[in-house]
């Protein structure tokens, strides 16, 4: 096959050289809003991405036509920027990223009632999370309070613990504390102080808004392997490189 291989290489190189540089180097690298990542490409009207050193977005806040705000966090860094973007989307938020062995002391304030459920999921193949706040779900005097315990050296890894709740009125600043000891589990010595997913005793006040009419608070504790309480949409592509669009070879993500 060697001659064909060589001739094809030559032809491809010629094709490559004949391409106008700006087209292939710049315009195609403009990233789409994260909607392509969350699988709701057609729905979103506004998007914002924050880039870190590696060129990949740390998080994205998008607003759907129905007013719902979708948040996808791929890397748990720069909480201030996330707060700022949420504010632009009309959501007052307090975001804290803590070391893996620490959680914020509860309670952070008065839990808001009756706001409906927040949809929370563990995002894609990375360790990120996604959640969606419906229009009007967070009232003017409410604050979205997010606390994530993660390994600061690996901001893209799945968090050890995630707490997402809606607080009415004043929010107590995060006071990092050790989480309550998890019930002993055989064969798992990793991260001794971390919360574990499970129904056993010892987990902190786990809000269960499935019981209807209770607060929208959610406490999500994962074991770092993608366990989740609730997914937004089990069929969402969730961040893989191929979306509906690039299945046909079109532009979707920027690479670097």
């Amino acid at each position: 096959m060697s001659r064909f291989e060589e001739r094809l290489l030559t032809a491809l190189k010629e094709d490559l050289a004949a391409r106008p540089a700006p087209v292939r180097a710049r315009t195609r690298r403009v990233p789409r809003p994260v909607v392509a990542v969350t699988g709701a490409a057609a729905a979103a009207t506004a998007g914002f991405l924050v880039y870190g050193g590696a060129g990949s977005p740390a998080f994205a806040v998008t607003t759907d036509p129905d007013g719902a705000v979708k948040v996808r966090i791929d890397e748990f860094r720069d909480p201030g920027a996330l707060e700022g973007e949420l504010a632009k989307a009309g959501i007052k938020a307090v975001v804290d990223y803590l070391p893996a062995g620490r959680i914020c002391k509860s309670p952070r304030g008065e839990t808001a009632r009756g706001g409906g459920r927040l949809e929370v999921g563990v995002g894609g193949e990375g360790g990120g999370i996604t959640f969606r706040v419906g229009k009007g779900q967070i009232a003017r005097d409410h604050t979205l309070v997010l606390a994530v315990s993660r390994d600061a050296d690996a901001p893209g890894k799945a968090p050890a613990a995630t707490s997402l709740e809606i607080v009415k009125g004043a929010v107590t600043p995060c006071e990092p504390v050790a989480p309550p000891a998890a019930p002993p589990r055989g064969g798992d010595g990793a991260g001794g102080a971390q919360e574990r997913e499970g129904d056993g005793p010892g987990t902190t006040e786990r809000e269960d808004d499935d019981s209807g009419g209770r607060g929208p608070g959610i406490r999500q504790d994962t074991d770092g392997s993608g366990t989740q309480e609730r997914t937004e949409d089990g069929t969402a592509p969730g961040g893989g490189p191929a979306t509906r669009e690039n299945r046909t070879g079109a532009t979707v993500h920027s690479g670097s």
Partner: protein, 184 residues
Amino acid sequence: MRFDESSAAFEAFYRRNFEAVLRFVTRRVDDPHLAGDLTADVFLAALDSAHTYRPGRGSEIAWLYGVARNVVSARRRRDAREARASGRIAGRRLMDDDDVGRMEERIDAERGMREALAAMQALPEGERAVLELVAVDQLTVAEAAAALGIRAVTARVRLHRARKALQRFVPPSAVFTEEMEGTA
């Protein structure tokens, strides 16, 4: 991934993946000239969409197989309408008689795989795509998921269903223990 600044980067990519692309193609078509065209088309498409490759999201080969799948299925759709479509580079014109002969040998060698793929056509598209990449192209489940843009857990579920369903059509060994080595 960017090739535009140096053709050396592209050449390295091409050398790394030429065999894999050829294998992918000859497992799916039995005409040597068409195989040549498709090989060219796959690399052209890879050039066109190199910016969609994100190293953190999966291996290069998984991404490239995703591209190759699109190319081959697009070509099949087109062939339904017209006998011959022309890409920017007509791969078949780059092949001399020896090349065609070698391509035919490869195509013969991949017969078992093509038959397995044919048996898989009866599966639902989503399941078939995963099984194809894992069982035939030897990607890991995670790589196949990356190539298809789905969650790894979704890929695993689909793979399980596909394998179960396929047992009714062909003995598992025909699909899962086939010799995978290329004939390079």
